[in-house]
């Protein structure tokens, strides 16, 4: 094998390695990325079914209910145009509350409700996740505090 050909083989090997690696990385990326939808998009049917995604908006005032003593909680997320009911079982973050911004991760159930496996709330009073702020922008400020 001439040195030239050897070098060519090395270069090809490296290229193939990089190619395979990047395919794997981008697959890992697309499998694990979570799309974000606001309630209007979910109601319009844009959100995927059978695949987890994130939904964000405001927790509608007076919508938080739970059975006494149960870990399961139900609330409604709204962008003031449309609303989606959400269910979640577990401990809620400190800053979760009615009339406050929330992002939930989970999937749609066949009856149109959103079953969350993780609920994130704003981490301080002033801070709001940019995506929530954007999805609330242009909405009438009714009920917001």
């Amino acid at each position: 094998m001439t040195p030239r050909r050897k070098r060519m083989l090395v270069v090809l090997g490296v290229l193939a390695g990089v190619g395979i690696a990047s395919v794997l990385v981008f697959r890992a990326l697309s499998e694990n990325m979570m799309l974000f939808y606001d309630p209007s998009q979910v109601v319009a049917g844009d959100a995927p079914r059978g695949r987890p995604f994130r939904i964000g908006g405001m927790v509608t005032k007076g919508s938080v209910t739970r059975d006494t003593g149960s870990l399961e909680i139900r609330f409604v997320v709204t962008d003031f145009k449309h609303s989606v009911p959400v269910t979640y079982t577990g401990v809620l973050p400190d800053l979760f509350g009615e009339g406050k911004g929330v992002v939930a991760h989970g999937r749609l159930t066949p009856n149109g409700a959103f079953a969350a496996d993780e609920v994130l709330a704003k981490h301080d009073e002033k801070y709001m996740p940019p995506e929530v702020a954007k999805s609330l922008k242009g909405a009438p400020p009714q009920g917001s505090t």
């Binding site: 990385v25 890992a28 990326l29 499998e31 694990n32 990325m33 979570m34 799309l35 974000f36 994130r54 739970r66 006494t68 003593g69 149960s70 870990l71 079982t89 577990g90 401990v91 809620l92 973050p93 400190d94 800053l95 992002v103 981490h123 301080d124 009073e125 002033k126 801070y127 996740p129 940019p130 995506e131």
Partner: protein, 651 residues
Amino acid sequence: MIPELGHLALILALCLAAAQSVFGLAGAFWRRAEWMAVVRPAVAGQFVFVALAFGCLTAAFLGNDFSVNYVALNSNSALPAFYRVAAVWGAHEGSLLLWILVLATWSLAVAALSRSLPDTFIARVLGVLGLISAGFMTFTLATSNPFTRLMPPAMDGNDLNPLLQDFALAVHPPILYTGYVGFAVAFAFACAAMLEGRLDQSWARWTRPWTIGAWIFLTIGIALGSWWAYYELGWGGWWFWDPVENASFMPWLAGTALIHSLAVTEKRGLFRGWTLLLAIFAFSLSLLGTFLVRSGVLISVHAFATDPARGVFVLTFLTLCIGGALTLYAWRAPKLGSTAGFELWSRESFLLFNNILLVIAAALILLGTLYPLFMDGLGLGKISVGPPYFRAVFLVPMLPLLALVGIGMHASWKRARLGDVKRPLLLALLVALVFALGISLWAFGRTTTLALVGLTAGLWIIYSSLRDPISRLRKRQSLSAAVLGMSIAHFGVGVFTIGVAGVEAYKIEKDVALKPGQSAKVGGYDFAFRGLRNVDGPNYSAIEGEFDVTRNGSMVRVLRPQKRTYRVQTSPMTEAAITVGWTRDLFVALGDSLGGDAWSVRIQYKPLIRYVWLGALFMAFGGLVAASDRRYRTVRASEALPADSAARDTA
């Protein structure tokens, strides 16, 4: 009056930083000794005025001067004095001032400890540091002045974010910043070497202790942040792959690579261009981290309020710094190339693989962190990249790295003969595997691939790092601080790996609903909920739960988690109760009242989690020992010697 004094001091410091950079860079270029002589006094003056500005802001906090907007927003008269000082860097403006103070301190240290370095070289180093400093001061004065007055003054302050009212978080930012900003020194050394057109082994020897110093602080800072997130955020995890955590982790990975590549440059004069690039990357990633945190473009726990003007400024600054340095690199680096060779089976190639793997890891994290920004920018929808991505892709470069650490330590330069250590290392690998199996089956009752691989790798690295120092001590041979430090740091890697494997494989997290008198069983422990009572703190009131933790009927500990409500910001805060142990942590956090005196409670069993932070501490301590090596001090005394021959003597 005091805030105005601080403002004035900051402006004067900016002028001095400008003088420092102009006289440093121009003086070195035209070789004007009288210009270069101005640089050191300018550094000292800049430090004095920055410290004065910082002191003024601190005084405003301690004196509860609510006529200053920043104080009114982030402090309160009921806030304990310690947190009033910590509140200085509790938000954007003050943390920038802290950044500047840390940079001024590093610059002062470089100016004071570099008497024996060539004049033009050190003038350039300080000139570059002055440029960075001037950039950040301009940013602060133009967009985020902490001294702005509030008219009319507030009656009382808005209080510090309750999440930040905690010891670890009070000291986390200064330590983390010291690490971040410390890479500016390595960056400045790299730029100066390129401007000078000279990069030899003594350059690597000057740069090494500074880089290790910054790396030590960054390591401790990240560990502190992780520890804080564990007990204070109330979630009980130790790493969340949050964008801001990633922002501090990427410079750490690049810095770790830099430390290793500097070793090759110093000992063998190789990897010169690569070392320069890593120095540029480490600092660029630090700046990128600052940008990500400050501009609010990312959704994160740490994100401060969004202000587009600030984002644009930092982004411009980032582009100038990285672009400038890379242009310089493209222009000058080809002249600095090295010619010596090495064989595939040698310490050089182990370190090369270390570098490649660490850089790949940093690149994969960078991709995952910035991907949502690209997607959003291109209008392809809002996405976030979750922890599963990071967990999956991070292991790919890290597992081979762990395998290489054990062997690499025993490989010699140029051409390694592993003959005499091959057998003990293989044997140790087998023993480690048996131990790992034993630990996982005996202590946890089951095993997983992750646990087995992690525990084996951890134990093996521990053996491998201890082997050399112990045998040398036994034979009463001398052991240089550099080698000892390396062994300690790698020992820390082993300890860390064991901790990660243990906690990730065997942790138990459970959310339960409990009424007083009821109990829950998690990980072999019984958590009996005794009841609730009200407690009052200085600026909060709290509901405190009491849990008796028992194991097979014998008492382990009483845990008292709290749910606090801070009076001013009226936001609830979970204060988890944790009992710490060598083999496991038990963690209880109060959730919400579920009605009918039931409460939601999060109970966690975290085996071996302490070793995660203990390992990080060992790494930092190893760095400290290595940086104290005598040769970094003697090189200053013998600096007059031609650089290359001095390096060859000790290589």
